[in-house]
């Protein structure tokens, strides 16, 4: 199935093309080397033969006697199947001596000689090289050497090289095809996964081979990306569900108030009161929307530019101080003994808002059914982390619900009565995530201890 799909694409893949280019380049280079090598070998062998011929020519010319003695010498030297070749002819062109049957036509008109083909007594065609030798008395002499054996060796080398090249090309192409098949197979698993993800199944992940190779690296990265997308999609789905549910209620209330004001004919004052309450309701809705938008933007992580360095101890102390009178009026003791430091790099407004949300939560829910209404705000410097904790003595949050309350619009049933958007803790969690921190919800025995953990950037302390 997949294989049939893959085969036609095999030769179009990058892997195959790379393999083919490499083989072609290698073959071209090797061919140049072989051609040069062969011509060098040929040259050396031929030169040796020519040198031997030149020496013999000089020797024959030096003690050139008369025609008869020359004919005798040539006759003696000519052996039927020997490597030395001779052809002596008279002025009329008739053969006088020598082991060649006839004057090779290739040499006939030439002054410097060259290669030629001849037939032996056994009628085998062989290759030779010959030069003309000037002799007196109108005789003409050609001496030569048989080089058929050298030619055979050269031929064999050439054939061997060609065979080698052919084999090499085949192996390389097969290797390229195999490599691209393997690459395609790996890519195909990634493609299949991405296709089913695009079709809507966000829970799919690319399988890893476990070899830790670059494809596993790529797949790990892609899986992390899909993970993040799935998370975002899920929270988006959850949010739109919750928006539909949680914003409809106040919108209905707003509408009812406006309608009630119209129905009650209390005159201008009645209308005014109705309008004012409508505006209050609209303001609450706007607050909820703003909080939602803020969380959405925090989760998109678009806040990096506005980080600054500040003293977290001072910031938390200021926030606690802001709420002390409010707590006091509500009959709650808000205690905080916070020293300066450490200095952190973060968005001061967002961290302030997160801390204030925690304090407001403690004030809102911390007193339910508890005699001891005290709230403790503290900052603990853990070196690499700073922990900002707000602890109350209220009903707390059951361990099973702790993860859930950090999500948008989740309000535990028992705490639905006090006004609120249901976004407070999720904003804290979003602020923490933006700063690479996290939120811990612990049992304060009794009550809840909410801890905002933020990293301390030591390297930026020089300011």
């Amino acid at each position: 199935m997949a294989l049939a799909d893959v085969t036609p694409r095999l030769f179009g893949t990058t892997a195959f093309r790379l393999a083919a280019i490499t083989v072609a380049a290698f073959l071209a280079a090797a061919a140049v080397i072989v051609v040069v090598l062969l011509s060098q070998v040929n040259g050396v062998l031929t030169e040796q033969v020519i040198a031997a011929l030149d020496a013999e020519k000089a020797e024959l010319q030096s003690h050139a006697g008369d025609a008869a003695s020359l004919t005798e010498t040539i006759k003696n030297r000519s052996r039927p199947e020997g490597p030395a070749l001779y052809f002596l002819s008279g002025a009329d062109g008739r053969k006088l001596a020598g082991n060649l049957n006839r004057l090779p036509p290739e040499i006939a008109g030439s002054a410097s000689g060259g290669t030629f083909h001849y037939e032996t007594a056994l009628a085998k065609e062989r290759l030779g090289v010959a030069i003309p030798v000037n002799v007196k008395d109108g005789l003409s002499l050609v001496i030569g050497r048989d080089i058929e054996d050298q030619r055979l060796i050269a031929d064999r080398i050439r054939r061997g090289v060609l065979f080698g090249f052919g084999l090499l090309s085949l192996i390389a192409l097969a290797g390229g095809a195999l490599a691209s098949r393997m690459l395609l197979a790996r890519l195909e698993t990634i493609n299949q996964t991405s296709r089913s993800i695009m079709a809507g199944d966000l829970s799919r992940r690319i399988p890893l081979q476990g070899s830790g190779d670059e494809f596993d690296d790529l797949s790990t990265q892609l899986n992390a990306m899909i993970e993040r997308i799935e998370l975002l999609m899920n929270s988006l789905r959850e949010v739109s569900d919750n928006i539909a549910h949680d914003l409809k209620t106040p919108l209905n209330r707003l509408r009812n108030r406006a309608e009630a004001a119209l129905l009650e004919s209390k005159g201008a004052d009645g209308y005014r009161e109705g309008l004012e309450r409508t505006i209050d309701e609209a303001d609450d809705l706007i607050k909820t929307f703003n909080a939602l938008l803020l969380i959405a933007r925090l989760e998109a992580g678009a806040f990096d530019a506005s980080k600054e360095q500040f003293d977290i101890g001072t910031m938390v102390r200021d926030a606690a101080e802001l709420y002390e009178p409010v707590a006091e009026e509500a009959g709650v003791a808000l205690t905080s003994s916070i020293a300066d430091g450490p200095s952190i790099v973060a968005n001061r407004q967002l961290v302030s808002q997160a801390v204030i949300n925690l304090i407001e939560n403690a004030l809102k829910y911390g007193r339910n059914g508890s005699a001891d209404g005290s709230i403790a705000v503290a900052v603990a410097n853990g070196g690499t982390n700073v922990e900002i904790s707000v602890a109350d003595h209220g009903p707390g949050i059951a361990p099973a619900d702790r993860e859930r309350v950090l999500k948008r619009f989740v309000r535990l049933e028992e705490s639905r009565t006090p006004p609120g958007t249901g976004l407070g803790l999720s904003l804290v969690a979003a602020v923490a995530r933006l700063h690479n921190g996290h939120v811990l919800l612990e049992d304060n025995a009794p009550g809840l201890r909410a801890i905002l953990v933020l990293p301390v950037h030591k390297e930026r302390r020089t300011v």
Binding site: A305, L322, V326, Q349, Q353
Partner: protein, 226 residues
């Protein structure tokens, strides 16, 4: 006070013009950035209200251009983008204040009134006085009718800001921004408690209250019933 409203949404602009007129101010409208910039350059306005997203020339560019030309008219930037970053960008461009849509008209009015006052060169005032209440900015001392009043540092800053804007409405959001440097609205109405504590220190035992609550808007320090 003469206000220029640079806002492309007709309904919003019309509402602002009507509301400002009701509050006793004159308002001119410009429907796009270029017209707005040309009108603002006439330099006859006390405050400019500039929407951030405008046709032809965006609000931030209008403000930047004015500031580059050396125009100091106070600017309130209006924007649908309300996060910390947007605010910082708006103020960096040369805006004096930043208000996120949707806003309460009372909030906008209080802010432009505070801005128009800021244009008056009185930055280095060393002493604020409202009736017999005196705040000395050098010694950080507060007294009423010659009697020393002991204030917590934050109460002092709260009173200082209120007195700096004496006779004008100061909203809760403005107090959060200027006294606590918080640019967001908490759920609980924390400001009221702090103001009532301050009130008990400066008004208690005196016949004439100076720190007034303005219904539906905020607070105001002023002399007499006015």
């Amino acid at each position: 006070m003469r206000v220029l409203v640079i806002e492309d949404d007709r309904e919003t602009a019309g509402f602002l013009q009507k509301a400002l007129k009701e509050s006793g101010h004159a308002a001119d409208l410009a429907a796009d950035g270029e017209t707005g910039l040309a009108m603002a350059k006439e330099d006859i306005y006390d405050v400019l209200i500039v929407d951030r997203m405008l046709p032809k020339l965006d609000g931030l560019t209008v403000v930047k251009t004015l500031r580059t030309d050396g125009q100091r008219t106070p600017v309130l930037i209006l924007s649908a983008l309300g996060e910390v970053d947007d605010r910082v960008k708006g103020l960096r461009a040369g805006g004096d204040d930043y208000l996120t849509k949707p806003y309460a008209y009372s909030e906008l009015l209080a802010r432009i009134e505070a801005l128009s006052r800021r244009a008056v060169p009185e930055e280095q005032e060393t002493r604020y006085a409202v009736a017999d209440l005196v705040l000395d900015r050098l010694s950080h001392r507060v007294s009423r009718n010659g009697e020393n009043i002991i204030l917590q540092p934050r109460e002092y800053r709260l009173l200082e800001y209120l007195m700096k804007n004496a006779g004008q409405v100061v909203t809760r959001t403005m107090l959060l921004e200027h006294v606590w440097d918080y640019h967001f609205d908490p759920q609980t109405n924390v400001i009221d408690v702090h103001v009532s504590r301050l009130r008990s220190k400066i008004d208690k035992g005196f016949e004439k209250p100076l720190l007034h609550t303005v219904r539906g808007a905020g607070y105001m320090i002023r002399d007499g019933a006015g």
